[in-house]
């Protein structure tokens, strides 16, 4: 299963294209300008400054890890969270959600965000309906990539090896997926 990975040293601070794309993708009219109207942006945490590469911490999205067995799905009282038996992804049907926040309590990664004013909770669904998630498609620098975890690990190992040889590491990862 492909996952979203974040490469901090490629991220442009203050760009926010990924957040705008996420809000736009999950609106009914898929509007690009609607996110500017003050709708809640997806949550971010700041990553630790890594040695050698980045000097200041950069924010990156908290994403769902699609656990097996998914505790949020077992805790969901309304049946809005469903695990797809074929690819193992956990999707969220917001229209069915009643805002009981049981899923928020059960997610050990804090990837589900409660919105008490709207009486719903939201999570990254990986844009199940499209080829690649909206944030990945919108990222202008390729800081977000959508690849298999195995591929990512192999590339990281290669990156480490080449770093010792003082070769530019960012060129080794796929620019856009």
């Amino acid at each position: 299963m492909r996952e979203i990975f974040f490469i901090p040293d490629r991220c442009l601070p203050g760009c926010n294209a990924c957040q705008m794309a996420c809000v736009g993708e999950h609106l009914k009219n898929k509007g690009v300008l609607s996110p500017l109207a003050g709708l809640p942006f997806p949550k971010k945490v700041r990553s630790q400054p890594a040695e050698n590469t980045i000097k200041t911490p950069r924010p990156h999205p908290v994403r769902c890890l699609h656990c097996d067995p998914p505790r949020c799905v077992e805790a969901c009282l309304s049946g809005s969270l469903i695990k797809n038996p074929e690819d193992g992804r956990v999707g969220n049907n917001v229209e069915q959600c009643i805002g009981c926040f049981m899923c928020v309590v059960h997610c050990p990664f804090g990837a589900i965000i409660p919105l008490p004013s709207e009486q719903i909770s939201i999570k990254c669904d990986g844009c199940l309906w499209s080829k690649a998630p909206a944030c990945v498609r919108a990222c202008p620098t390729g800081a977000l990539i959508f690849v298999e975890p195995q591929t990512y690990n192999e590339k990281l190992k290669m990156k480490d090896r080449f770093r010792k040889r003082k070769i530019q590491p960012a060129k080794l990862l796929p620019a856009r997926v």
Binding site: V45, P69, L77, G99, M102, P108, G110, I112, Q119
Partner: protein, 417 residues
């Protein structure tokens, strides 16, 4: 292989789902006398407000599961574990290879001397909720017995309907098992601001009932008088084990005794959900915890065990109490052990008083937390409580619920490194 599941609650549904996912060739028969087949039991208070909301409570099932599943709408009279037969209400025996009992729990019975039985209403199934809705049409002074989560949820629904009830609680404060004293008084103030009246520390003695006016007066031991015309009981549940007891299965602490793979004292007989009691190695006795996520997890484990696909990492773990519930759009979360004299307490309250986050430590380990108003990092905290994480000092972002950590490490790595 034929597997019979008795009961349509969270555990029965999840057992059926995991069984059909792992072994699609199994013939699964689900027997229940409840209607509809799959719906959200904790949300039935919505039916009191709007009886037509039943279709919104129904839980969607994958299409393939719907095709494979066989549903039997019958009452179960008895089971014979030695011959592998279930006797249905129409006296037809149904043979099985594996049986999963998810008979659930029933509300604790309450009798008040002088009140007719039909005026004391309990809440467990959709049918009960619809019955309460029909009674409430001509009710003016509803009284809720019990200040736990069920009682308050009913009181919340009645208040939203414009009928704020009187809540009679036997303990000196509301939510005495779920929240600490200060947090509970905050919730009480929230309810009182919406017009709900609380009578705390009350022991009911008897009642006078006027059949013509359909009104009555509850009398307490302290000689208080509480007018009422309908009594709604929310005083907790006890496991339904009649079938299992008659069949000779081992009963412990009121529930059916089960192992970590949810197997009962008979092989190939599983018990899941509210009717099962599991051994807690810390306290040294069997415990029963009737909440939805525990029921769903036990159902999944039983389904995997019945399919022969249970691996050690996916076994049922000793359940940690937890609950999340919004009252008047204020989210309330309670996790772990939150009552006890030996616990050390750290709390944070926002300047305007709308947020209160309280943390409980037992011998340096995080043992429980109650969050009101702001439930940020609730999942991380629950994981820390489940793993009994030792924390020297609670970080500010966790105490105050700051979502983004300026310059800090990701939360998971701080807590569990």
């Amino acid at each position: 292989m034929r597997c019979v599941i008795i009961g349509n609650g969270a555990s029965g549904t999840h057992a059926m789902l995991s069984l059909l996912t792992h072994t699609p060739q199994t013939e699964v028969i689900l027997v229940t006398d409840d209607e509809p087949f799959f719906y959200s039991r904790p949300e039935i208070t919505r039916l009191i407000e709007d009886p037509t909301a039943l279709k919104h409570l129904e839980m969607p099932l994958p299409g393939e599961v719907q095709r494979k599943l066989k549903l039997v709408h019958q009452h179960v009279e008895g089971i014979d574990p030695r011959q592998g037969k279930v006797y249905l209400g129409n006296h037809e025996p149904l043979s099985y290879d594996t049986l999963i009992l998810s008979t659930g729990a029933e509300p604790k019975p309450v009798t008040v001397i002088g009140v007719p039985k039909e005026r004391i209403l309990t809440l467990r199934t959709a049918r009960d909720a619809l019955r309460i809705a029909s009674f409430l049409k001509d009710a003016r002074q509803p009284v809720v017995l019990g200040g736990g989560l069920i009682g308050l949820k009913v009181a919340h629904t009645l208040t939203l309907m414009g009928m704020p009830p009187r809540v009679v609680v036997s303990s000196p404060r509301i939510l005495s098992r779920t929240l600490d004293t200060e947090s509970a008084s905050k919730i009480q103030a929230l309810f009182e601001a919406h017009g709900v009246t609380f009578h705390l520390g009350i022991t009911l003695k008897s009642a006078d009932w006027d059949g013509k006016k359909r009104q009555g007066i509850l009398r307490t031991k302290r000689r208080d008088k509480i007018p009422f015309d309908i009594l709604l009981v929310g005083k907790g549940v006890s496991p339904r084990v009649k079938l299992a007891r008659n069949a000779g299965l081992l009963i412990e602490n009121g529930g059916i005794a089960v192992s970590e793979s949810m197997e009962t004292s008979f092989p190939h007989h599983y018990a899941t959900g509210d009717c099962a009691s599991i051994f807690n190695h810390e306290t040294g006795r069997y415990e029963n915890r009737p909440i939805w996520p525990v029921a769903a997890e036990s159902g999944r484990v039983a389904g995997e065990a019945a399919a022969g696909k249970l691996i050690s990492g996916r076994r049922f773990s000793t359940p940690v109490p937890r609950n999340a519930i919004p009252f008047f759009s204020v989210p309330v979360v309670s996790m772990g052990t939150v009552t006890g004299d030996t616990l050390k307490v750290t709390s944070y309250e926002s300047a305007n008083g709308s947020v209160r986050r309280t943390f409980f430590f037992n011998e340096g380990k995080l043992s429980g937390a109650t969050l009101i108003g702001d439930i940020t990092h609730a999942g991380l905290l629950f994981e820390a409580i489940r793993r009994e994480t030792r924390l020297r000092k609670l970080p500010d972002w966790l105490l105050q619920g700051i979502p983004s950590l300026a310059g800090g490490t990701p939360p998971m790595e701080v807590l569990f490194s």
